[in-house]
């Protein structure tokens, strides 16, 4: 099977059955290897799933190959995804979630524990592993355990037993760990195992009933404001607690997920400079979209800034092109201002943000096709993540190599010793973990094009760059068109 005919070829031997070990020849592609920090023209050979050779090309061999066409990189790692089993298989199953991940170029996903029931006991993890095995997908599903029992922020979850069962960290995501005392204890306890506590930073006393980022857009649309301070306060609290805990528990680690406002990222920047063991991620939607989408704007966040970096008025610019109140844009944390989106990009560029995580949050139509303020929060985003990030790259907001490292080596470092062997890296002689995509090949996001059951994407109908041609995990085929 030839996936990209022409001078730059991707030749996949045999059938395209998911899960089989592949023979693959990729010639004259642009290879990005975040492990070595090198990128350039290369040929790759995979035999029976093993990466036999990755050969950098130079001189005449490299002529005519640039980073605008077929790109090969290590398969991506998503630190933050919601597959809805158990509890809401109508929104997503493990199998459809894994298929969606592979379609998005992800070879490893870390699943949040806000299922029903919450992932707060080892036996639930066993059920998850059975479903992963039954799916036939080679995509690696890792799991976070709940930080508190039932994610209720009342008592600690069985952190030690969950650690023994193989979780990669602890989180009450969907909700913050409301009790500062419990956060402190969770950080200290998880620190015994060197595992991170992954907090969704939100001061709920500021966000009760909140619908949209507080600002011009929420004011004009009459939506209840969601102040940026709600996030920054929680980040500051978490960092203050971490600073004390880490003095006694050197293994304590904090990961802050889906940071969305400039103030939070500044706090993390300073905490890292002070040497605290903190990491964080930003989502594709928070760096590429802004709150003005709720009013019907459809331009990217970086297009909504003036020359001085201030936000522009979408009404003044005539940028309103779609109906307002599209409930697929309801997400927690909410889409922020264009200035905040810019701060997310800057944080990626300067390394304050360690990773791009999708916060893939599929929902069924019943929960989403309702009034904006009543709609479930979340964007089905694991299949559009690469496209949105490449839009930022195309617009000159982010270097391709940095985008790739934030999807591979960055999240692998957050996972530390629990990152699956070989993930995020290209190692000759080892099973291949690869994604191949064509930056020049745009695809249209339509419901039927998404493998996820969650069709709740604000990008439906839009073209995105970077069609994924192939995802290989452990030498096995995870996705092919």
């Amino acid at each position: 099977m030839t996936l990209a005919p022409g001078a730059r070829g991707v030749e996949l031997g045999g059938s395209s059955d998911i899960g089989r070990k592949v023979d693959l020849d990729i010639s004259r592609a642009w290879l990005v290897d975040p492990g070595s920090g090198r990128e350039g023209p290369a040929d790759l050979v995979v035999r029976d799933g093993v990466l036999e050779a990755a050969t950098w090309l130079d001189g005449a061999d490299a002529e005519g190959i640039d980073d605008r066409g077929v790109v090969v990189a290590p398969a991506f790692i998503d630190l933050h995804a919601h597959f809805r089993e158990p509890g809401n298989a109508a929104a997503e199953t493990i199998a459809t979630g894994l298929a969606a991940a592979a379609h998005g170029g992800f070879g490893t996903v870390c699943l949040m524990p806000n299922t029903t029931p919450s992932m707060d006991t080892p036996w639930l993890l066993a059920g998850l592993r059975e479903k992963v095995a039954a799916s036939g997908s080679p995509v690696r599903a890792l799991a976070y355990g709940a930080a508190t029992a039932g994610r209720a922020s009342e008592t600690l979850a069985p952190i030690g037993a969950l650690a023994d069962a193989g979780v990669v960290g602890f989180s009450d995501d969907g909700s913050p760990i409301r009790s500062a005392t419990l956060l402190r204890n969770a950080l200290a306890y998880a620190g015994m195992f060197g595992l991170p506590v992954v907090d969704h930073p939100e001061d709920a006393t500021l966000t009760e009933g909140a619908e949209a980022n507080e600002g011009l857009i929420s004011t004009v649309l009459g939506l209840k404001g969601w102040p940026g301070a709600a996030e920054a306060i929680a980040v500051e609290r978490d960092l203050a607690i971490l600073a004390e805990v880490v003095r006694e528990v050197p293994g304590a680690r904090l990961h802050l997920t889906h940071l969305s406002v400039a103030a939070s990222l500044d706090l993390v920047r300073r905490a890292k400079a002070a040497g605290l063991p903190v990491s964080c991620d930003v989502t594709p939607h928070h760096l590429a979209l802004a709150d003005e989408w709720l009013a019907g704007s459809r331009r990217f966040a970086w297009e909504a800034l003036d020359a001085e970096g201030r936000g522009r008025d979408p009404w003044r610019d005539g940028a309103i092109t779609a109906p307002p109140y599209d409930s697929s844009l309801r997400v927690n944390p909410p889409l922020r201002s264009a200035v905040d989106a810019r701060a997310c990009l800057i944080a990626l560029v300067d390394g304050t943000a360690d990773a791009i995580a999708t916060d893939h949050a599929p929902h069924s139509l019943v929960d989403k096709d309702v009034e904006f303020g009543l709609a479930a929060s979340g964007i089905s985003g694991i299949e559009t993540a690469l496209g949105l990030v490449l839009e930022a790259v195309d617009a000159g907001q982010l270097a391709l190599a940095r985008a790739i490292s934030a999807l591979t080596t960055g999240p692998a470092r957050v996972l530390g010793t629990r990152a699956p062997a070989g993930s995020g890296a290209l190692v000759e002689g080892e099973p291949a973990h690869l994604v191949v995509f064509d930056r020049a090949d745009r695809w249209t996001v339509i419901a039927d094009a998404l493998a996820s059951k969650g069709k709740n994407s604000p990008l439906l109908g839009r073209d995105l760059p970077g069609r994924v041609l192939l995802t290989l995990v452990g030498g096995r085929l995870a996705y092919a068109p």
Partner: protein
């Protein structure tokens, strides 16, 4: 930006800035109404507004002379769907629709399957299948009419959605101001008729759909608008006022907690309802404190221009946002606002009926 007639109402476009030199009376009457729905006033051009107000004049005359209006809605099912309590808006729409010959169906959330958890779209489909052709809806959630308009085969009129918009209220408010501030000979000139006029909106801006819609129409009409209230109830407005409504520099408005500055020399003082729930959510210390600092008393009203109009969208808390002697005083046009709701809604329904026959 502009959009095609067919979908213009589904898109929250920039309301065009009033353009000097738009057609005069003849041109205004020749202007064609193209809005299938009315979800927000932001889609209305100044020519649309003048057409609507001119049509309302004709409707008011019919009403005043006890003549019967042309039954442009004969055989048309107008369904009024209320997810929130409403007296004046519901009655006014019902009277307006009936005067135009419509069959009116009233649905309120208390007496329907809505209370059993039926979704808004399912309710809409039920009403559509039982004959609803024009759907007038009020809902507690901002933006709800856009969801309905996306799927409904007929016409949707927003009778108030959450904190967002109350289009017919803003239009009847503008109509009321026009009747008092613009001589009959000057009406329908095509020029924004509140140029040089100052309008103060006082009270709970944060939760007010009436204020939001009035900001669009009043600035389209060229008024100098001031909004005033205690700072927690003005949240977010400063950025909007500085940018201007629709992003238009000539539609900026002033936001202040200095009541005297806001109502000083005003031609119109519009007060908004203060709800008791605001105390429970910690936005205000007490109703008494609000009344003592922001209540419109006859003493404070003297700061405004002599004879300034006093308006209130209702229902009022007399003694809180407005003193009884002001509400019932000679400058009050509050009952006239209610009365004007009928010709305005007749005008809107007849213009929308025109888009039905055209289709």
């Amino acid at each position: 930006m502009t959009t095609s007639a067919a979908d213009s109402t589904a898109v929250k476009t920039t309301a065009p800035t009033p353009v000097a030199g738009e057609p005069g009376p003849v041109g205004v009457m020749a202007h064609r109404w193209t809005h299938r729905h009315l979800l927000d006033v932001d889609v209305l051009s100044w020519a649309d507004i003048e057409l609507l107000l001119g049509t309302a004049d004709a409707m008011a005359e019919v009403v005043a002379k006890r003549r019967s209006a042309e039954p442009v809605l004969r055989g048309t099912n107008v369904t009024i769907l209320m997810y929130e309590a409403s007296t004046r808006t519901r009655v006014s729409f019902e009277v307006a629709a009936k005067r135009l010959g419509a069959t009116v169906v009233n649905v309120s959330s208390a007496g329907s399957s809505v209370t059993k958890g039926e979704s808004l779209l399912d309710t809409m489909r039920t009403l559509e299948s039982t004959g609803a052709e024009i759907l007038v809806m009020r809902h507690a959630t901002s933006g709800a009419p856009y969801l309905v308009a996306r799927e409904f085969g007929g016409n949707v009129i927003n009778a108030g959605d959450g904190w967002h918009a109350h289009p017919t209220q803003a239009l009847l408010d503008l109509y009321t101001m026009r009747r008092h501030l613009v001589a009959p000979a000057d009406r329908g000139s095509g020029l924004p008729f509140l140029r040089g006029r100052k309008v103060a909106i006082v009270g709970d801006l944060l939760h007010s759909r009436v204020a939001r819609s009035n900001l669009w129409t009043l600035t389209a009409a060229g008024a100098e608008v001031w909004v005033a209230g205690p700072t927690p109830l003005l949240r977010g407005y400063d950025a909007w006022g500085r940018s201007g409504v629709g992003g238009a520099a000539d539609r900026r408005f002033t936001v202040t907690s200095d009541l005297a500055a806001a109502i000083g020399d005003a031609d119109v003082v519009m007060t908004l309802r203060i709800q008791k729930e605001r105390m429970a959510s910690g936005l205000l210390p007490s109703l008494g404190e609000y009344a003592s600092r922001f209540g419109i008393t006859s003493e404070r009203l003297r700061l405004a221009k002599p004879g300034a109009l006093v308006m209130h969208p209702g229902p009022m808390n007399e003694g809180v946002e407005i003193a009884a002697e002001v509400a019932n005083g000679p400058q009050s046009v509050i009952t006239e606002q209610v009365a004007n709701g009928v010709p305005i809604r007749m005008a809107l329904l007849s213009l929308i009926a025109g888009t039905r026959s055209a289709a």
